[in-house]
Assembly symmetry: C2
Homo-oligomer: 342 residues x 2
């Protein structure tokens, strides 16, 4: 409704002075400023961010591309990002990216390009070289969480090490027949993370000289249902049953525990289960897990981005491909113990 010129008229100053008074850039005497502020308040004036963006070139808005919303890790990250952005006075525009290629291109070539966002946070998505180049050519900083690609700053835990560590915990307890139930290695949006975890698992097994074959890995959906279904099928036959399972994510681990309980298999007496992530439900299920902290990953991503946005004096010719590894913490609970005697 009310525009800057209305404020100017009311305060009896020029538009330029109003702009300076309200934005805090440039010289304005204290009395003038007060008069302007009062006038603005009187008519309920709020800057039009459109008009402002048009001339300044930045929008105070960050685009977030994310493949899932209703999955624990992603929801947590999103929450962390949202909180941090709002606190910094930024808006968050959300784009859920499915595996659908057409939709994905649309987001990149239509939505993200229209000078609407200052920067992009990509969560759990492996961006293509082209996508990154497109964004960079527009001068938009990108930071990734989880999946990544060279040419952009990335935050994530070291998934290989995480899986390795949690597997070693089982090995250390004396387990030898260990299975990995994790994310499908098919091309998926969040493919990378789970192939890394699989890699960590196999490395640990190989280092310990334990048998590892096709049967040792079972792909599944990353969800409680996925783990449950896989669990039922794996645990059905007592002879082929492993003594321990490394789940690719806590949801999967929880599903497996539920399946085990249902089949009357004691956890951990007959079956040890470990997960990765530090899911909210882990304590409730007594799940031993390697916890990460997705919320603070979100916060940190925002901080990185804002730094880059304000440091934009030197126009992003910097290394740019720095990989920040996030800390994890081992949370040992009641789902792990030494293997049953044969």
């Amino acid at each position: 409704m009310s525009a800057l010129s209305d404020v100017a008229r009311l305060a009896e100053v020029s538009k330029a002075t109003v702009s300076r008074a309200l934005s805090g850039n440039g010289y304005v005497s204290i009395e003038t400023r007060n008069r302007v502020v009062a006038a603005a308040a009187a008519i309920g004036y709020v800057v039009s961010s459109n008009a402002s963006s048009l001339v300044t070139g930045h929008t105070k808005n960050v685009g977030v591309v994310i493949p899932f919303i209703n999955r624990w890790f992603f929801g947590e990250v999103l929450e962390g990002i949202e909180t941090a952005l709002i606190a910094a006075g930024y808006d968050l525009t959300l784009y859920r990216l499915s595996a659908d290629d057409a939709a994905r291109r649309r987001v990149f070539e239509y939505f993200l390009v229209r000078k609407r966002v200052d920067a992009v946070i990509a969560v759990g998505i492996e961006l293509t070289r082209t996508e990154v180049d497109l964004l960079r050519s527009l001068g938009k900083p990108i930071v990734g969480i989880g999946g990544a690609v060279e040419g952009m700053a990335t935050l994530s835990i070291d998934d290989v090490a995480a899986a390795e560590l949690i597997t070693e915990l089982l090995i250390g307890l004396g387990h030898t027949r260990i299975m990995h139930v994790g994310g499908s290695q098919q091309k998926q949006v969040d493919f990378r993370v789970h192939s890394q975890r699989l890699k960590g698992f196999t490395q640990a097994m190989r280092s310990a000289g334990l048998r590892y074959d096709d049967e040792s890995f079972r792909p599944t959906d990353i969800s409680i249902e996925g783990g449950y279904t896989a669990g039922l099928s794996i645990l059905a036959d007592p002879r082929s049953r492993p003594s321990a399972i490394v789940a690719g994510a806590d949801e999967v681990a929880i599903g497996i525990i539920i399946a085990a309980r249902q089949l009357g298999i004691q956890v951990p007496a007959q079956l040890s289960v470990v997960g990765i992530d530090g899911h909210d439900l882990a304590p409730m299920f007594g799940l031993t897990t390697l916890a990460q902290h997705p919320k603070s990953q979100g916060t940190m991503a925002v901080r990185l981005l804002l730094d880059e946005l304000t440091d934009l004096t030197e126009p992003l010719d910097r290394p740019a491909s720095n990989w920040n590894t996030f800390p994890v913490s081992l949370e040992v609970r009641q789902s792990t113990t030494a293997p049953p005697l044969p």
Copy 2:
């Protein structure tokens, strides 16, 4: 980078013609249009939505305020909204609204007002009269999902009827000692829904002439953990144990089932449990529930909003406070049966 005037120069026409050719408003000969489109493609031109919004007054952007992200119902709704908005060429700006009053005011008085959003969807939030008026005075349509207030269009299931129905199912099976474990009645962002469900429960109990007292309702967090904790405490004492529980949400019901299993209480032989929502995990736990379809509620909200946005010839003087009740479906599974013989 490239602006409309660049396209104009390349295609050897005026800016006005480029605008018409690309937006499809006004007369442009087919040859000219082709030339313009080709020129635009050649230099990778994309309209600046800022500039465009500045003059047209609308932004093709919808603000969504929502209290939780990582809770099933809210995540689903958000997904539905996102999909529908993107499909319609709209952006979605996300504001998570905590109970924190200051933050809430900030969102309303600062973020939502800056001519950045064309409309607002409020999910599970009881907006105050002031908030609604503020938005309406700016000519921004609002639609609510779940919590609502007069003066705005709202979508939700009939929570009273839902709770009543599912309670009656238990009563019909012969249960008489029924408890309700549900959302706290303290002032919370999504308070309304759960007070409605409690009301439906009490109504059903009263209608059936069953005893209902303070002990019959147990407030809890709406989460699996919340249900689990409440479940452990309720089910601990065999003498005071109810024969059936109506959970205020499926998460809670699932938590209760897990608690029951852990205590060695057979569901449904010794304890029937029902929920409301139709959570993804309900089938896995054999949970009998009254299912709603949050994703399509999101979609529907978007449709309503877009209708209002395009019909804006008559500037929203219409009834405006229409309450659309959403369909639910009863999904009977294995968590319910007749009460055990005394």
